[in-house]
Symmetry: C2
Subunit: 460 residues, 2 copies
Amino acid sequence: REPAAPSVVTAIPGPTHKALFDDLNQIQVAAVNLFADYEKSIGNYLVDVDGNTFLDVFTQISSIPIGYNHPDVLKAVADPKNAAIFANRPALGMFPGGEWPHLLRSVLLSVAPRGLTEVTTMACGTCSIENALKCAMIQYRNKQRGTTTPDPEDMKSCMVNEPPGSPQLSILSFHGAFHGRTFGALSCTHSKPIHKVDIPAFQWPIANYPRYKYPLASNQRDNAAEDERCLAQIEDILTSLKGTKKEVAGILVEPIQSEGGDHHGSPKFLQGLRDITTKHGVGLIVDEVQTGGGVTGTMWCIDQLNLSTPPDLLTFSKKMLTGGFYNTHAFRPNGTFRIFNTWMGDPGKLVLLRAVLDVIKRDNVLENVRKVGKKFVSGLTELENHFPTKVNSARGRGFLCAINFSSAELCCKAHAALLKKGIHVGMCGEVTLRFRPTLIFDEHHLEILLHHLHATVSEL
Amino acid sequence: REPAAPSVVTAIPGPTHKALFDDLNQIQVAAVNLFADYEKSIGNYLVDVDGNTFLDVFTQISSIPIGYNHPDVLKAVADPKNAAIFANRPALGMFPGGEWPHLLRSVLLSVAPRGLTEVTTMACGTCSIENALKCAMIQYRNKQRGTTTPDPEDMKSCMVNEPPGSPQLSILSFHGAFHGRTFGALSCTHSKPIHKVDIPAFQWPIANYPRYKYPLASNQRDNAAEDERCLAQIEDILTSLKGTKKEVAGILVEPIQSEGGDHHGSPKFLQGLRDITTKHGVGLIVDEVQTGGGVTGTMWCIDQLNLSTPPDLLTFSKKMLTGGFYNTHAFRPNGTFRIFNTWMGDPGKLVLLRAVLDVIKRDNVLENVRKVGKKFVSGLTELENHFPTKVNSARGRGFLCAINFSSAELCCKAHAALLKKGIHVGMCGEVTLRFRPTLIFDEHHLEILLHHLHATVSEL
Ligand code: FES
């Protein structure tokens, strides 16, 4: 049973935390915010090692779908029928268990975005991105060559990292984007210098992602112009790089730039992007690692964006518990062992995800996200109306909600003050508090959060 | 209980396999060799969905340390004390459980290579490599700058993938190497074209890895010259690239090139590499993803190579169940959030690894690897002496054993014929059968393997 309210009983961080932090910091660079007690954490509440109980509105960087120690997840963990899956992690690409095709169909494909009929699992969001980029590259090269078979010159030159086998093609990404931190994904990430500095990058092109004025209702004309400006720039880049060493093979985009500051892309912007990529024969890879899994009120954010045709590839992880990507049949890589690694994901995570999706369907959880999500944005808007000099730009889709502060300093102060009141939220971008509750966050939790937010902002 | 011997009761692949394969192939590119029954698989025996029982000498691409359904691993899975760890995967970098520092120390650091006092977990071998490369880059830039603090110009330029913030530095890797398939790791991988073709790569330098003549005992002079030739080339590359856009920040090397064809590096070669990297102030990253975890008869292959000082970074995965890297204190990245991602590994895998390491210590498992490993190489050498026109270059360290065939075709034939006899081995490089048994493979299993190998080669 969840507690009735958060409770903070020590200084933050507490004494047990401090001792553990010092210990950990001797053997790696410790960046720990708090050490948790996962046996005691429950539902929307995260309990730390010092006995403090936080209402968790950040949920492990948005990766806990239906709360801590959900009984259905615990049941899946304890079920002896699943023991062999947890104990014997296979190389899924070569020797999956006999249940694997059915697991993929009944779990991942049961919630596939419209038109994306194929799925490949990966172990995290980053390799999902890297492999989706590879699929886009393969597809583009096949088209350039006019055949799916690389020629001998390709096969030879790629072995020494030289073109044409290692082609001089690029992925277009966006200022403010975050897609992960391995070398390919990091070359598409542009949210914070600390992610990128000192690490070599592909010199791939970068476009502007729309920056809207809020409230949206009273800034429609400016925001529509912003969409058009960004789309025009993107089309310019595609055209001007054609035939150069940076020719664009794919565009990688988040429907909402999450780490970068919760910058929403309008349906019109994403629709335009789909149409431009179709027109220029460039792959469209939608990164739903943070926006997917139900947090926006539908399984996928693009379910609400009414694209003319589905994206070519869509990546997921976090709330989905397993990484992976969906793709259209057209973007299926030709041939085996082109998209491959040792583990190719982890079937144990699909067993847990099955339990999660069963709960989501049975308990109509996404309806909760939509309903409470509306009140969430209203509550933030009210806060903004109350304290217009301190906070602004309240926004959200489902539970993926955020509000900006008038300065980075104020934002950090609010974050720390909330923690002392037992409210654990996240930050993103420079001046933004982001809210990432579980999907079972209800009106009662929202009231607690809004109450403490009001108090905190008024005290700033 | 393990069966007494392998048994094949259907055609390979069997009818159930075929139906599952067709089903899977509709929703992704299927490369499945066999669909397994992981409830029935036990110890060194892998049972497939058609009821065939294979002696498994490939073990999920060398990633199952102590056999299928080991009672101690099953006990860890079923232990209610571990349930909260399996059910609530944290963002380990920010909110680990209170037990995390102790788990790192008592599990991973208890088997750390000499001199590597720090450890960071990752979720797979590939991100272990990518992040170790990043540590080497950060370290090198710190030295270049003379300070660990990136300057404003670095912070600004990196956001758009430009130098100096995104530095023009390289990692030196080797022909025949395999380090993974994300963009950074793949730029260091040079084993097979199908891994690389159509994917852009960093144009980083590549050196020769020694290719020895076997048997080693009768080719000492040639092999010593080969070591010297390779080391001289490496030093040439470091010197000639200094001050260019490809200046080398680190060397990435496997002590035995595994995917590339089980090419062993001699102690002298690896010692030379350590000395050259020290001399030139370049990071040495040893990739023990495949050679680590006990398969060579010691926890790490480098334990047997007598380097003058430890490598700067050492990566692991596969048999270690979790990915990650060890590093010296000197190579600790300065500052938080430079080496980071959402999950930073998975504590559930450490719980399983704890069980595995307890068994390894309790049952003196590495002594078994060393003892049976010697007979393994002797057995392969005998085979070579029997059939010198068909097989050659028998070699091994502990259980990491291999033999070459006189042609790729013969090698494939042997692989398929063995499978029909219920012996499941791997291939690597072009002409090589590689053997990757569990660490609890005993003399009895070895006899069965050698018996069928003899029969197979004689029938070729
Ligand atoms: S890169 Fe995704 S798990 Fe390693």
